[in-house]
């Protein structure tokens, strides 16, 4: 099962809202994945295949050399933007 993790500062509100948008995009394009959300402090230690976060966290993630695909969004709950950025990654992973 493909693991997607959505990340924000405290891992409570905006990452959760983004997670719900990601889940509905996945449903629309017919991909099964398990989506969860967490805070940035814990994100480096997780084993997700894809991490999705806000543009403002990009510099934070650059400090870690993470093996998973990273996606940074301008608009965390915009399904169009999520789909545009997520579909190529899913295709590369062979999940779509």
């Amino acid at each position: 099962m493909l693991q997607i993790l959505v990340v924000c500062g405290a891992g409570l509100g905006s990452s959760f809202a983004c997670q719900m948008s990601v889940e509905s995009v996945l449903q629309d394009i017919g991909v099964k994945a398990s989506v969860d959300h967490s805070d940035i402090s814990s994100a480096a230690g997780t084993r997700a295949d894809i991490i999705i976060s806000g543009k403002n966290f990009e510099s934070q993630f650059q400090r870690y050399d993470l093996p998973m695909d990273l996606i940074f969004l301008d608009r965390l709950v915009d399904k169009k933007e999520i789909e545009e950025k997520l579909v190529p990654v899913l295709k590369a992973k062979g999940a779509l």
């Binding site: 409570l12 509100g13 959760f16 809202a17 806000g54 403002n56 965390l76």
Partner: protein
């Protein structure tokens, strides 16, 4: 009869079970498969108990800090933390059941109000609703409400805030995001509007913060727990030095008293981390269920979302607002005691989220100058309101702490200053 007694007195008095049952009912209503119903209910219960464990860690650290602070400076230093207030209200005041049910009542009133009024907002920031439920329950019961009345009063007040706050912020949110699709659901909105007002007056024709080049090194500020630690560690360590070796060693035993202070500061962050992890588990099932039901009842509703949803629109404004708000809270820390109010230490969690969001608001209407002047005023404002509540919190038995998010503080003050006297007339 004995069975019913057992259920009422031994099971339903356990808030973690009550909350699990709420989730259980919600999952059944959504006709989820049985496995998901069970795992979701269990996760919710686990979340509640993790939250309680985090609360105990915070309280332990705050008790220690209170001791060294009063020894070192001869006065009380209050740590503003809505998480600590919530934890203490649930654990030590025995209000957990009422808070859980009020939380549910706020959901229901939110949906009703969105359906019946022009304010079509569905408030999806679960933890903020939990803080609001905490405050309305604590101050509602202090005002003389109990039982169903307490839950309805808290639910109605919280429900009004849940639609009114996104509504008053929406004109500026539209300006920031360029769309009318999403709203802001965060209970610091009165502070944002205050800050934006100041910024509008002071920041005419000022350039946007997004043209400032901030050093890359400030990126760590967006790491919530790290930025809390960066403030708490010096605060504890310096205070322990003022309290002195003799006093410090009484508390620290075999550990060097300064090292102990350092570790206790980190313990505070650990407590916040654990408590918020509990909140995350607790909300994982409840929020999507609420969203699903709400959108069925109010199809044209806008989701009101947590403040970091706005952060990518103006990341520099977030950093700038955080810094200027922090300056304002430090000034207020020294100034408020002159007026006979408590000394409130800067609360870094709020400073980051509320300060950062206020930064975006202020930049939208008043650019750089607006963020600087408005931010300092904002920091002062969000310290003043919680300071007004300190005497009430002390009389209710809270340890060394006060609430943070100004909308929830306003709800508390509303009960204390307006509803309580009215209740007394009828009592």
């Amino acid at each position: 009869m004995a069975v019913i007694d057992f259920i009422i007195n031994s099971i339903l008095t356990q808030a973690s079970i009550t909350i699990a049952l709420i989730a259980f009912a919600g999952l059944l209503l959504q006709r989820k498969p049985f496995g998901e119903v069970m795992s979701g209910s269990f996760k919710t219960m686990l979340g509640f108990l993790v939250l309680s464990a985090g609360s105990s860690i915070i309280v332990g650290s705050l008790l220690y800090f209170g001791d060294i602070f009063s020894e070192g400076f001869g006065m009380e230093g209050i740590v503003p933390s809505i998480e600590a207030i919530n934890g203490q209200a649930m654990n030590d005041l025995g209000l957990a059941n009422q808070i859980a049910l009020t939380f549910l009542a706020i959901f229901i009133f939110n949906i009703l109000l969105a359906r019946l009024t022009r304010w079509k907002y569905i408030f999806l920031t679960g933890q903020a609703l939990l803080w609001m439920a905490t405050m309305t329950t604590v101050f509602g019961s202090a005002a003389g409400f109990s039982g169903i009345g307490l839950i309805l009063a808290g639910g109605l007040v919280g429900g009004i805030f849940a639609v009114a706050m996104p509504a008053i912020a929406q004109p500026i949110v539209k300006k920031i995001t360029g769309t009318d699709d999403i709203a802001l659901g965060h209970f610091c909105t009165i502070g944002y509007m205050f800050a934006a007002g100041i910024a509008k007056i002071t920041g005419k024709n000022s350039d946007s913060t997004e043209n400032i080049k901030f050093p890359k090194g400030l990126g760590f500020l967006s790491d919530t727990y790290l930025s809390v630690a960066i403030v708490m560690v010096p605060l504890y360590v310096v205070t322990s030095i003022f309290a002195g070796a003799e006093f410090g060693t009484e508390l620290s035993g075999d550990v060097n008293y300064i090292v102990y202070a350092f570790l206790q500061a980190v313990q505070f962050v650990v407590g916040v981390y654990v408590l918020l992890s509990g909140v995350r588990l607790l909300l994982a099932e409840i929020v999507p269920a609420f969203r699903g039901i709400a959108l069925k009842v109010v199809p044209d509703a806008k989701p009101a979302l947590d403040c970091p949803v706005l952060f990518p629109y103006a990341p520099n404004a977030v950093t700038a607002g955080f810094i200027t708000t922090t300056i304002g809270t430090v000034i207020a820390m020294f100034v408020l005691p002159w007026f006979g109010l408590a000394m409130i230490l800067p609360g870094m969690l709020t400073n980051f989220f509320a300060g950062g969001t206020a930064g975006i608001f202020m930049n939208a209407v008043g650019g750089k100058r607006g963020v600087l002047i408005g931010g300092i005023a904002h920091g002062f404002f969000i310290t003043l309101l919680p300071a007004l509540l300190v005497p009430h919190f002390n009389s209710l038995g809270f340890v060394n702490t006060t609430a943070t998010d100004v909308d929830t503080v306003t709800a508390g003050l509303l009960f204390e200053w307006l509803i309580h006297p009215i209740m007394n007339l009828f009592a």
